[in-house]
């Protein structure tokens, strides 16, 4: 079959938007792992709780698609900030309740505690919003839901869709990623985090409050997950108690693919997964007969296995100095 450039660009756009969203969650996995070498399996659920919090908050505010534009944008920004704060505190609390008492226990113990927290949060999610997928309060006016920027703003005559929603994902995600990088590399506490990541005991000897540093990592990761929750909620127009599990699995894979503990690696890994996903779901079947979306998870994890075989520390895993 002939190469279809238009479709290819379309899959690129979908893959990048999805990858950016995954990156927000993957960073949370990698931040925590970098410091205490714990895979926080409850991280995806923190994102789900952020989404559920957003649903309740927006429903409570009474702002709807009929409200003034400024009210809608203001409400979305307010929700973003509050959902981040909520998830940050939740993640912090999880650490204090479930992981901190196990800090010096064998590594398997906090891992099991993380899986337990994940189940607990899923059940709270069911209690909160029910066991079926729910749709978020319709706050985005109908005409903007499929609003194609390329047609409307740039007056391009193309069938390629770059929706306002895709832009929404990118304009929320990119500043958050830049902000995080700035925080880790340019602030005092960021420096303390990097020091703790390199050698916890040495950092403590230098007068760094290790527990406070760990707490900060959980707050930061939780905040990003809260933002991802709100974004995913409106990007997918759908929230579900299992959404955290689904995104979490891909984000965890992305973090490992990029080199767990490495911030840049998590973003690169996420974009890779987003692109592999959209290409496998859409593009591949034009060229390979019998190809279908059912193979996508196999491809993603197949790539992961290959990377692990040839670069066991992940794509960017060798830059251990950057490990956070």
């Amino acid at each position: 079959m002939e190469f279809n450039g238009t479709l290819f660009v379309q899959y690129l756009i979908i893959g990048i938007a999805t990858g950016a969203l995954i990156a927000l969650i993957a960073l949370g996995y990698t931040l925590v792992y970098g410091i205490i070498e714990l895979i926080n399996f409850a991280h995806g659920e923190v994102m789900m709780m952020g989404a559920f919090f957003s649903i309740s908050l927006i429903a409570l505010s009474g702002v709807s698609a009929d409200s003034a534009g400024a009210a809608i944008i203001g409400m979305l920004l307010l929700t973003l900030v509050l959902a981040m704060a909520f998830s940050a505190l939740l993640n912090f609390a999880i650490d204090r309740i479930a992981y901190k008492p196990l800090r010096n226990a064998p590594r398997l113990a906090p891992l099991i505690a993380a899986i337990g927290m994940s189940f607990i949060l899923q059940n709270i999610g069911i209690y909160w919003q029910g066991s079926n997928p729910v749709r978020p309060p319709s706050i985005i006016p109908l005409e903007y839901r499929s609003y194609n920027i390329l047609n409307e703003w740039f007056a391009l005559d193309t069938t390629i869709r770059f929706r306002l929603l895709d832009l929404f994902v990118l304009v929320t995600t990119i500043p958050l990623l830049i902000g995080l990088t700035w925080f880790v590399y340019r602030t005092r506490i960021g420096t303390a985090m990097r020091a703790t990541a390199q050698d916890r005991e040495a950092a403590a000897l230098m007068g760094i409050d290790v527990n406070r540093t760990i707490g900060t990592a959980f707050l930061l990761g939780g905040g990003l997950a809260g933002a991802a929750g709100l974004i995913a909620l409106y990007y997918n127009d759908n929230g579900w108690y299992r959404m955290g599990f689904r995104y979490g699995l891909f984000a965890f894979t992305a973090a490992v693919l990029g080199g767990i503990g490495n911030l840049t690696g998590a973003v690169v890994g996420s974009l890779c997964i987003g692109l592999i996903w959209s290409m496998s779901d859409g593009f591949m079947k034009q060229y390979v007969s019998g190809w279908g979306a059912q193979w996508t998870p196999s491809v993603i994890f197949g790539v992961l296995v290959l990377v692990m075989v040839f670069r066991p520390s992940g794509l960017l895993g060798e830059q251990t100095v950057d490990k956070v």
Binding site: T18, P133, D237, N238, L249, D281, K285, A293, Q294
Partner: protein, 454 residues
């Protein structure tokens, strides 16, 4: 009070002031028991009535009218067991079916063939998962075969559960009758392209068939949808998606095969990743094929609402028609898809209870009275299954599992809630009615009855 009202109604009917249908509806509405209505009908008070529907032998219009019913209970007790999930999400579905079976027994005076009938509803779900469990189903089946009074097992709801219990009942000596109101997986009774190697014989170790079902199978549903899409809708191309499960994939295959056999072009047959958070790339590629119909074989809780929502973001309803299977016939599917659900078609093996005619309409009124709301659609089949069992006991008049099983499998000329039917040689219903529903204003609306291409 009820008796007085009944007498008034009988007078009105005799005088020709109301017709038979109105009579039944009003009698039910007045709270007259089914038995009393039946008695009124059979005492010959309706000699002047214009209607010639065969008079039933008991307080019901359902069943084979030729089989004589006896309310004598001198021979002892026979137990009927049912087994399906009745907790968590299945509380209402399973509960309605249990009530339907109980109603069938009451309509026949809780007796048949000289025995008093006792009904016990078992649950094959476990609280930890809220859904059926192989261990629990196996326990139920073993309990039933070891109860000397048990003659018929009315089970199961889930086809997977039937795969567990059919062999258990079949290996009993003699094999015991099992009749299902809701198993739609074809492989339980016959071999099709969608079934596994060795099916259905692996379920019948003794070589004797002891299983039958009163609901249409999945392959019939897919074929009926294909016939409607090709001939009524006029679509010439279709894309088929499924959730990779036994059920979803099976119905999708039968749609694909029937659609292709009529000359339609199948643009793709594909499983989707049920854990994926979105399907934009997949839907973009499907839109690119230009298919006129998207057929989805899946169940609600495998992300089907999201599949439809993402489909609609690239394929508007005026260009591509969505047709789903009965695993999606649930309000949760509409809620998950939101606005995207408008105009979506979903088929169902049967009709919505409120659409039932004749005897079905009488049954519907009784169930509404009993439950205080609409019964679940599968409750109609549960009622029919119970009547098949009761009439077999009437015919045999003995505690003889083998004879009762034979009588049940030979059911024919059965006046059911959905027309007259019998069992074919596989134990499947000979005539099947598939209902086509459409989503309007956020709710399912019955559209029409559809059938497979002959």
């Amino acid at each position: 009070m009820g008796d007085q009202r009944l007498n008034e109604l009988v007078e009105q009917l005799r005088g020709g002031r109301i017709d038979r249908r109105t009579f039944l509806a009003r009698a039910v509405a007045a709270g007259v028991s089914a038995g009393a209505i039946g008695a009124a009908l059979t005492r010959g008070q309706l000699a002047s009535a214009q209607d010639s529907t065969p008079s039933p032998t008991a307080g019901t219009l359902i069943g084979n009218p030729a089989i004589q019913h006896s309310t004598d209970t001198s021979k002892g007790t026979i137990k009927l067991y049912s087994s399906w999930p009745m907790i968590a999400a299945s509380e209402q579905i399973g509960g309605d079916s249990r009530e339907a079976v109980a109603l069938a027994l009451e309509d026949f005076g809780n007796a048949a063939g000289g025995f008093a009938l006792v009904y016990e509803a078992l649950d094959d779900a476990v609280p930890s998962t809220g859904s059926w469990d192989p261990g629990k189903e196996s326990e139920n089946a073993n309990l039933v075969i070891n109860d000397a009074d048990a003659m018929v097992y009315i089970a199961t709801y889930n086809s997977g559960a039937a795969q567990v219990s059919i062999p258990i009942l079949n290996a009993a000596n003699p094999p015991m009758a099992m009749i299902s109101p809701a198993n739609t997986y074809p492989g339980l009774t016959k071999s099709t392209e969608a079934t596994e190697q060795g099916e259905p014989d692996i379920y019948y170790p003794s070589g004797v068939r002891n299983y039958m079902r009163v609901c249409p199978t999945d392959d019939v549903q897919g074929a009926a949808a294909a016939n409607w899409a090709f001939n009524t809708l006029g679509a010439k191309s279709a894309y088929v998606l499924h959730d990779n499960q036994l059920y979803g994939r099976g119905v999708a295959q039968s749609f694909r095969d029937a659609f292709a056999a009529m000359g339609g072009e199948v643009m793709g047959f594909e499983g989707y990743d049920v854990n994926a958070p979105d399907y934009q790339a997949l839907m973009t590629s499907i839109a690119d094929t230009g298919a006129e119909v998207l057929y989805l074989g899946a169940i609600v809780n495998l992300n089907a609402g999201k599949v439809l929502a993402d489909m609609r973001s690239v394929m508007p309803p005026d260009q591509v028609t969505f047709i789903g299977v009965d695993g999606l016939f649930n309000q949760a599917f509409i809620d998950a898809a939101g606005d995207a659900a408008e105009g979506a078609y979903v088929t169902f093996s049967g009709l919505p209870p409120a659409e039932l005619q004749g005897p079905g309409d009488l049954w519907y009124n009784k169930m509404v009275e009993r439950l205080g709301r609409e019964p679940d659609a599968y409750a109609a089949y549960a009622y029919e299954a119970a009547v098949v069992a009761i009439q077999a006991i009437d015919q045999v008049g003995n505690k003889d599992r083998a004879a009762i099983r034979e009588a049940m499998i030979n059911t024919d000329g059965f006046v059911g809630l959905l027309g007259t039917w019998g069992f074919d040689e596989n134990g499947d219903r000979s005539s099947a009615t598939i209902g086509l529903n459409i989503v309007r204003d956020g709710a399912f609306t019955f559209e029409e009855e559809i059938v497979p291409a002959s």
